[in-house]
Symmetry: C2
Subunit: 303 residues, 2 copies
Amino acid sequence: MKMMIIGGGAMGLFLAAKLSQSDFDVTLCVRTKEQALALSREGLTLKDGSSSYQLPVKAKMTQEAPIEEADIIIVTVKSYSLTTLFAHLEPRLTKHQTILFMQNGMSHIELAENLAVETIGLGIMSHGAMRESETMVHHTGTGTFRWAQFKGAPDILDEVMNKIDRPGFEVYKEDDWYILLWSKLLANVCINPITALTGVRNGELLNSEELLHILREVFEEAMKLHPLPDHKEEYWKQVLQICEQTKNNQSSMLVDIRHHRQTEIESILGYVCNMAKAKHITLPMITFLYKAITEREQSFRSC
Amino acid sequence: MKMMIIGGGAMGLFLAAKLSQSDFDVTLCVRTKEQALALSREGLTLKDGSSSYQLPVKAKMTQEAPIEEADIIIVTVKSYSLTTLFAHLEPRLTKHQTILFMQNGMSHIELAENLAVETIGLGIMSHGAMRESETMVHHTGTGTFRWAQFKGAPDILDEVMNKIDRPGFEVYKEDDWYILLWSKLLANVCINPITALTGVRNGELLNSEELLHILREVFEEAMKLHPLPDHKEEYWKQVLQICEQTKNNQSSMLVDIRHHRQTEIESILGYVCNMAKAKHITLPMITFLYKAITEREQSFRSC
């Protein structure tokens, strides 16, 4: 079975490294010719604990990859890159292909709904992964890989997921894609903007009485839109647990801000703000954070 | 009477323009030789409404100015510049001189306490003033000039203040310098960080339901430290009034952030955070804003 992983960032490299050990014929599709050439020439290096693995990998520029030959396509690019990517990709897709979307937030759902592809899954990953160069990825924390069926027959994705499930890379299926995405969205809404604005590592949200208070305030607001509001304290424990498990990490939004890159604010807080607006619910803190991150992104233009 | 105004920013230029019409022999002391030369050559231009006034002005570099000859010194530099300024100034002061400090926040109080000068006043100004060039200042909104005695005999400062009081530049004396400074501090604590982080003009704090909610949250926290907590709703009205009166203005902190300049965060939120710490009071929102602005300032180094 032919698998194409689209995206040469931390997640794309990490999945390519992990799935190259499976039975699939994996091709990693990246945006630039330089990265495709470097990966083909040097292979992919996975740093994990004190070990380092050098793995051969097939790599192509996404534009030049034979997407139509893929049985399964795993899309790992940031959600704000999907529109550009699919403008080019969509005409080449056929309905028998299977797509797994790995984006944060919810803004990819509309795209997934409208694609003329029969089988679509949605996944989220809580492994820590940092791209150290175009050909090297560092596995900074063990997490899980969870997915849910979005549309189509379950057997195809079940088969794929069973094949990639292995010790150290456990794969879990969830029944409800909406609740699956909300579990990641909630953590992102709570942790990302506060850390991005204050520049602290995730663990500092637990150490600072004041930041923990703000975290709870954001959480309370987000839970007003959550599909399972009755499980509030259970979800609060999960958010705290993520801060603890990733205490030495910088959130992806903080990393983006520090590198003066576009953040995922639109698909995370932007989605929540729009949903609140449609439901006539006021979320002061989340709206404030949304405006502050958006202002920060705009300031990069003057740098 | 010889008056020296120290600082060639918006406030220094505005006061020099206003006080050059009084009986005083005014010298404007500025940091750079370029500005001193430009002011001596071109004079000072005051834009006010549709009028523009060209005023001759005596200007000197602060380092070269005969500070020892001044009867009254008005210090308009930002509070974070006071340490450097007074390291140079203090040895040249004599106890018979009079100083009026015009800083935001409270961090200049310690300096004022320790100066070997007999008469010290503290002032705050709510006139809108924007520096448009080294020799031009724009009066963007009519406000007031309020002052209080900090130490020394009142008659000297009373005499000076009576002389500069005139229609369009009203001067008011307050009894309690601590309450005077808190009135400005409170507005700065509430308005500056929110506008600086979200990039909105002051009036937007009234137009956005969410930002107004955050404004109130910050206000509630600040009032925990205010010397007159019983007057809460009266002060709240004042804060709203300032937002309304300055609705088209960018706060000074937003202007500083946009220009990638150091802000007055330390003397405003930093002071409040330290005071809260000493009193074992937790101020989550103010602490969060303090950290976010500090992080923003640090990011300028990577630009």
